[in-house]
């Protein structure tokens, strides 16, 4: 210890010369400078990229250059949706407002908007809270009357950081016209339904960018050129909708709604050979300009809401029997107004529309009727007999062969659009006494109007179930075709020309004539082939007296161009016939007249030559 103290405090004269210490100093300084040099090298050369990136992300501000969303047009060139820029929204860059001018700017804005001092104080507070931010939207739509005053004040330099931006608006010039197909966009310009949603990636514009070099206060730096990446406008979409036919469809739909006061109505017009949708409308509908919050009105019930097809399903049973050679149109089948099936409690009955005795043929001591006549008269008992002849497996295969129980592949449909696959019980769950009588007369299955139409369309075009489509073409802003629809066969039913175009066609033509259930739908100009359907609605687990009246068919029958379905759900209106009695609600009375008017007008619109006038004898 004493040695340590001695070592520390011993008085000794200075030992070194400043000249010598300088050498030591030199060494120390060399080390320090080498260290700093290394540090600079590390920062500036080794880590250069990283810091340069941080600098650029710091000092550039990207301003989005909006592109224009693509148009949606009909096949005949009518604009259904377009984007316009109009009006102005008021946005502020709070960072560009000097602190001492904040109150003045807020005051001036309030004054220009004709608002009170409280508004100004609130605005000033908002600007203060966002003083580090680049963007604050003050008002979405500046009243047009104030716009000029704003522009003048901005030009006068009174409002630093204030900007008026054009508002992008999606416009549907025809309102609810084809609303369920066109769809609509949300306030963020993102497609919510229909083509707007399904074709979002085509319609959406790729926004461009203007990269502005700004100082730390967010003010653009003078003399530095902006980097501009131009926006790319969205592609234009052409639907298969024919505006003329769509107008006819909507017109008749409105008429139907006025007459019958239904809960819902669905009308679809399809091009027979291709599966293209020429017109499609639902009631209730909506105006895409103001989509509202009523989800039910915005739903395309033609693909989302399955119904029990009832009599519309019968041609399928008959078709299956023809196809398998079990029956021909002339084959005689025993007719009884009621039929009890062993093992089934409830009897199958033709109650209310029995085939009159004078149309029956006595054969081997029994009342018989030809297969075609039974279908024309829509006999439940005969259909059940045919169903029993076919058996579960054949029946099941025929049904699924027409695409029931699966989605149609509609291009504006699919699970994300709520498209229903309908419902066909798996074969394993079928029982002869219950399933066959039910399915044969169109119960126990659920089908969407689109599926039903698709099935008839297959009969009309010779056995091909087409994939329905509503998007015809997508064309980029520069004219390049990005997508072109090709008619696609969804399923080949394997039905022969003889079965569909001769046997079924002849039978279905007779339905739309004086002797059939849809006599009221017959036309002088064109021959329609089709089938009515009247289903009782299930309410509270029981069949009620409310009905779904439908009609599906195609025309001209011998050379089909269009297939049409009309489904009127729960007609409630009272329409009197010429004798002053209210018309009862059946497919033949409610849906068939609407379908035939649509068919007539649509075929005229398409310029389809009229059929030769019928000989009087066939008409009656």
């Amino acid at each position: 210890m004493s040695k340590l103290l001695l070592w520390l405090f011993a008085d000794r004269p200075a030992s070194s010369s400043p000249r010598r210490s300088a050498v030591w100093g030199l060494g120390v300084i060399a080390v320090v400078i080498a260290g700093l040099c290394g540090r600079l090298y590390d920062l500036q050369v080794v880590q250069h990229e990283r810091y340069l990136e941080r600098r650029n992300s710091n000092s550039t501000r990207a301003v989005t250059l909006p592109g224009t969303r693509g148009r949606i047009v009909s096949e005949d060139g009518v604009t259904l949706a377009q984007t316009t820029f109009s009006g102005a929204s008021l946005v502020v860059n709070p960072r560009a407002i000097p602190a001492d001018e904040r109150a003045a700017v807020a005051g001036r804005l309030a004054q220009l908007l004709e608002r009170d001092a409280a508004f100004a104080a609130e605005l000033e507070r908002e600007l203060y809270l966002r003083r580090d931010k680049f963007f604050y939207a003050v008002m979405r739509e500046v009243p047009q009357a104030h716009e000029a005053a704003f522009r003048a004040a901005m030009a006068g330099g009174e409002l630093p950081g204030v900007e008026l931006r054009a508002i992008e608006t999606r416009e549907y010039p025809l309102g609810d016209f084809a609303a369920h197909l066109v769809g609509f966009v949300g306030s963020d310009m993102y497609g919510q339904e229909g083509a707007e949603r399904a074709l979002e990636k085509f319609l959406a514009a790729k926004p461009g960018k203007r990269l502005i070099t700004v100082d730390a206060l967010g003010r653009p730096v003078q003399g530095v050129d902006d980097t501009v990446q131009a926006a790319c406008d969205g592609a234009n979409v052409e639907l298969t909708i024919n505006a003329g036919i769509q107008a006819i469809v909507e017109d008749e739909l409105r008429e139907c709604v006025d007459n019958w006061d239904p809960v819902t109505v669905t009308v679809i017009v399809m091009e027979t050979q291709t599966g293209a949708i020429l017109g499609m409308a639902n009631y209730p509908s909506f105006d895409p300009n103001k989509p509202g919050t009523d989800a039910a009105a915005r739903t395309n019930i033609a693909i989302t809401d399955p119904i029990e097809p009832r009599s519309m399903f019968k041609p399928l049973i008959v078709c299956s029997a023809y196809q398998r050679g079990i029956l021909t149109p002339e084959s005689m089948v025993e007719y009884t107004p009621e039929l009890s099936v062993p093992g089934r409690k409830k009897r199958v009955s033709d109650h209310g529309h029995e085939i009159p005795a004078d149309q029956l043929t006595l054969y081997m001591g029994r009342n018989c009727v030809s297969t075609s006549a039974a279908l024309v008269k829509s006999s439940n008992t005969v259909m059940t007999r045919i169903g029993l002849m076919l058996g579960c497996e054949n029946l099941y295969n025929s049904i699924t062969g027409f695409g029931f129980g699966r989605r149609t592949g509609f291009d504006l449909g699919g699970p994300s659009f709520g498209e229903s696959a309908g419902r066909v019980r798996p074969l394993a769950d079928w029982t002869v006494p219950n399933s066959i009588p039910s399915v044969s007369i169109g119960y126990e299955v659920q089908v969407t109007p689109m599926q039903m139409l698709n099935c008839f369309n297959a009969i009309a075009n010779g056995g091909r179930v087409m994939k329905p489509y509503a998007v015809n073409r997508v064309t980029a802003a520069d004219g390049k075709v990005l997508y072109e629809a090709q008619p696609t066969v969804l399923l080949d039913t394997g039905l022969s020309h003889e079965v569909t175009r001769v046997q079924m066609n002849e039978t279905l033509k007779r339905v739309v004539s004086g002797e059939g259930t849809a006599g009221s739908g017959a036309l002088k100009e064109y021959r329609i082939a089709g089938k009515t359907g009247t289903a009782h609605k299930v309410k509270n687990g029981q069949y009620s007296s409310d009905k779904i009246c439908s009609f599906v068919g195609y025309a001209p029958a011998d050379n089909p161009v269009i297939s049409v379905i009309v489904v009127v759900n729960e007609a409630r209106g009272k329409v009197l016939n010429k004798w002053g009695y209210p018309i009862r609600h059946y497919g033949g009375t409610v849906a068939a007249p609407a379908m035939s008017r649509i068919t007539l007008r649509a075929l005229k619109h398409l310029g389809v030559p009229e059929d030769a006038p019928l000989p009087e004898t066939v008409g009656k």
């Binding site: 520390l8 210490s21 600098r55 730096v221």
Partner: protein, 400 residues
């Protein structure tokens, strides 16, 4: 030969001043641009004024005999003390950013601590030259040195200006060590004082806490306390090898605070790249080299120590500044000599260069210098032998 050394030193300083003028203009002009009514050249004009005054002072002082300063070291020391004390008197000292560092004469503010550095260097050199024989002693050499350096430091700390007070102490002890102060005295007392001092400092001054925290983790609060260091690193790093080009700094657009004063080196590094920043570093290094050469050839001990002190202080300050800007040490508000915008700092540094030049003017030829060195070493050798014999006696005594 003497003239070559002197001219080289002068040219070296002028090169740094030149870089400074360009960089002050480049980094300050933009600062005033957006407000049209303010003269964009206001900073560079004021900088040029101080540079002009400093050069005039330098020319004047380099003509004088440096021994003059040794004679008047005491009055100069007292003047510095008085000015430093004056900053603490309300009404004379001007408060700015929470510290009283300024005295205003009319429109111009000077920092007495700038003059303080100048005065303390002269005092230390003079002390070390006159009392060279007692400097090795703890009581007679070390303690008085601590005392006169400490008073300056304490006054500075009272402003409060922690960084400058540390810098004053460091530069003063640099001279004293070169003059023969024993390193172990300094080291031991620093080691003893350090725990106490650091605890006091750390708890007393919030900003020191913050700065150390920021230094340890600059990314912790990049927009708050770490903002300046982060922006500085971005500036330096984005410079790359060749730099963004003169005037093209992005960080000076208000991203980097103090861009024309303490953090001017970051702007320089961004605009001139690694080549430019390394060149600046090299100029400081060569200044040190030249300073040491002058010190080795100084006609007397005082001149030698004065040269070492001035050059050392310049190098020390430059090293600290660059280390701060590159986030190699905790943040400390200190300018880059000759380059930063800063009135009185620039002026007094140029005056100090005048002192060095006046010593350089009287440099002795190399042979004479060698002779002087030999004499000094002979002195110390005889002292050394004395000391060794004393140690031998102690050892034998201990052995017995």
């Amino acid at each position: 030969m003497q003239n070559t050394l002197r001219n080289a030193y002068l040219l070296n300083v002028l090169a740094l001043v030149g870089i400074g003028v360009v960089m002050v203009f480049s980094s300050s002009a933009i600062r005033v641009m957006p407000d049209a009514e303010v003269d964009p050249f206001i900073f560079i004009k004021r900088h040029l004024l101080f540079v002009g005054l400093g050069l005039a002072g330098m020319v004047l002082l380099q003509r004088m005999d440096h021994t003059f300063w040794q004679r008047y070291a005491k009055p100069i020391y007292v003047l510095g003390l008085a000015l430093l004390a004056a900053t603490l008197i309300p009404g004379i000292g001007t408060e700015f950013n929470g510290a009283r560092r300024w005295i205003r004469f009319g429109g111009i503010g000077i920092q007495p601590s700038d003059f303080g550095k100048f005065a303390l260097l002269i005092a230390a050199a003079s002390y070390a030259a006159i009392r060279k024989d007692e400097l090795g002693s703890f009581v007679k050499g070390f303690l008085p040195a601590c005392l006169f350096t400490g008073i300056y430091s304490v006054l500075c700390m009272a402003q409060p200006d922690f960084g400058t007070s540390l810098f004053l102490g460091a530069s003063s002890f640099l001279v004293l060590l070169a003059g023969g102060l024993r390193v172990k005295h300094l080291l031991v007392s620093v080691l003893v004082m350090l725990p106490v001092a650091s605890v006091v400092m750390y708890s007393k001054f919030d900003h020191i806490q913050d700065r150390i925290m920021v230094f340890l983790d600059p990314a912790a609060d990049p927009r708050g306390k770490g903002h300046q260091v982060n922006q500085s690193l971005i500036a330096i790093g984005s410079g790359g090898l060749e730099g963004q080009g003169l005037g093209n700094s992005m960080q000076k657009l208000y991203y980097l605070p103090e861009q024309e004063t303490d953090f001017i080196f970051a702007v320089l590094a961004e605009e001139a790249g690694f080549l430019g920043s390394a060149l600046t570093l090299a100029l400081f290094a060569s200044l040190v080299l030249l300073g040491i050469r002058i010190a080795a050839r100084a006609p007397d001990r005082f001149g030698s120590l004065l040269t070492i002190g001035v050059t050392g202080a310049i190098a020390l300050q430059a090293a600290i500044n660059i280390a701060v800007v590159t986030a190699s040490v905790p943040t400390k508000g200190i300018g880059l000599p000759f380059i930063s915008f800063g009135g009185s700092g620039c002026f007094f540094y140029l005056c100090a260069v005048g002192l060095v030049l006046s010593v350089a003017r009287r440099c002795v030829p190399a042979e004479q210098a060698r002779k002087l060195l030999a004499e000094e070493l002979a002195d110390s050798r005889s002292e050394q032998s004395l000391r060794q014999s004393a140690r031998a006696r102690r050892i034998t005594a201990a052995g017995a």
